[in-house]
Symmetry: C2
Subunit: 323 residues, 2 copies
């Protein structure tokens, strides 16, 4: 098996990112196209294939020099068949993505859930480099997760493994979650949850606060505001950041007792808080894991940002497509 | 690879169980010897080997007809080397178990933690038959666990994966655990924890109760008493059983969101409570998992009892020793 090229594709609701990455992990090119969701997303596979073919021509790459395509899509996917059961933002329902992509490009393809693909990207070339047992957490609008054991994503029996945003962390009196339950991790440690807790704290507290000044100026606050103010020592913001970190540390403690990872990679918008997040997080993670589990595990901020998906896709092509 | 014999060995602090099981899962013989822990357990490997050799002679089995030995030991084990770092009840410290066993028997051996081995036994011939993604929980003096993904035990980076008895389920005001933390699952859902909660309930409650009658007669109660009385409708006992099931369901909900198993197997003494345990457990498991996770997963009581270990050992020999 000589060195070949791998294509990573990361499908989003508005743009589709792509990259051409060699076996050594060097990015030859990366680019993006608009995701055309009209007609229930029926043009997407052809658009992506056209763009890939153009790019391969530009680099004079024949199909024998390309291993294949690793593509991530939002929604629920059956990896074995490459079938997308439902991807609401895209318009797909029961869509044979792998088959379509292979037909249009003539290249073998492998399909994965986008959050898992980003986790694989961080493992290959990002914060998880060199590790084979990882928990990846994305703290954005929601809380996503990817569990990697011995270098492979854990999918579980119905593809639900790693949906850690829905671990209950506030069993009594928790806030409602989009999933229909209450008190999920997502309700307290996502950007949405942190904003809500910040607003609550302003409501139930009269103390002077630079977070309150921001709220009065802008009519709203964001999770970023909370962490920025916390970093400046604002007590009210520190308390909110601590609470978000407490619940995240609690959940990661439990998950780590289950899988005993060597690394936890924190990504998503909230991860930009850096040490303002990871310092209290590490404290609570230590409290809720076990000494041998804590000692074996390092918490790091994700490094690849928006490229994690395409890198993970290329890794899937490199490792899962045998040609 | 033709049909061969497999030897399972399950080392306990007082007796060592052994079994001769063929590739089809048929138990040809099972027996036990006393575990001789004097001289820091230095006679154990020779004793076991002697007993195995005698048994193979009895059945006229040459070494070419035997695949090897799968042995479970308590304590912390490095599976790759078959090295036992520490097994307090046995007296071993930094003991090369695999090497000794192979030297004395002339057969290849594979070593595993005893709780994990029991989980593999239930997967092969017990309640987990046919499943490849399982959570096994042993509710005894403590709470043990084994996580199986794609047919293999998850060990984690420092061999701590599956130590689910130490997931925190009472984050504030929990009882002290042997591990040094507070509020671990083991403090509320083990036989020890259920007895303690039963005694507390009797202390803080004046109501008539057949559990109280038992306590006054015997001067103590057991977890078994609590479930027996609960099965008879004793309100105080029902409340304690519900509490144990609530915390177990809470932990299993979280673990199942992480690994999305097809089966949860409950073993150990407390599992004899049957539906008095599993009915409330299922209710809380549903509350704390996700619909797609819950729907894909069945909760069953372990079937192999004390034989789970030797069966798991034979399975390890059958599947991990290539000869």
């Amino acid at each position: 098996m000589s060195e070949k090229m791998n294509i990573g594709v990361d499908l989003g609701g508005t743009t589709t990112k792509m990259a051409l990455i060699d076996d050594a992990g060097k990015t030859i090119d990366k680019w993006a196209i608009v995701t055309n969701t009209i007609d229930n997303g029926s043009h997407i596979a052809a658009d992506i294939s056209e763009s890939i073919k153009k790019k391969l021509k530009q680099y004079n790459l024949g199909s024998s020099e390309v291993r294949g395509i690793g593509m991530g899509a939002p929604g629920f996917i059956d990896m074995a068949s490459g079938f997308v059961y439902k991807a609401v933002n895209i318009g797909w329902e029961d869509y044979p993505l792998k088959e379509e992509l292979e037909k249009f490009t003539g290249l073998p393809a492998i399909i994965e859930n986008d959050a898992n693909m980003a986790a694989l990207g961080e493992m290959w070339l990002g914060a998880g480099r060199g590790a084979k047992n990882l928990i990846c957490v994305t703290l954005g609008t929601g809380v996503g997760g990817g569990i990697i054991i011995d270098g492979d994503i854990v999918h579980g029996v119905s593809g639900m493994a790693g949906e850690i945003g829905h671990i209950t962390v506030v069993p009594k009196g928790g806030s409602p979650c989009n999933c229909g339950k209450k008190g999920c991790l997502e309700t307290v440690s996502s950007a949405t949850g942190i904003r809500r807790m910040g607003l609550d704290a302003l409501d139930y507290n009269d103390s002077d606060s630079i977070l309150r000044d921001l709220f009065e100026k802008n009519g709203d606050i964001s999770a970023e505001d909370v962490f920025n103010c916390a970093a400046k020592g604002d007590q009210l913001s520190v308390a909110v950041a601590e609470k978000a970190a407490y619940y995240l540390g609690y959940a990661l403690g439990a998950i780590s007792i289950v899988v005993n990872p060597e690394k936890i990679v924190i990504g998503g918008g909230v991860s930009h808080a850096g040490k303002t997040l990871t310092d209290p997080l590490t404290k609570y993670f230590k409290e809720f894991s076990l000494p041998r589990v804590f000692d074996a595990c390092k918490i790091d901020i994700a490094q690849l940002s928006n490229d994690a998906g395409v890198v993970g896709g290329a890794w899937l092509a490199k490792t899962k497509i045998n040609n």
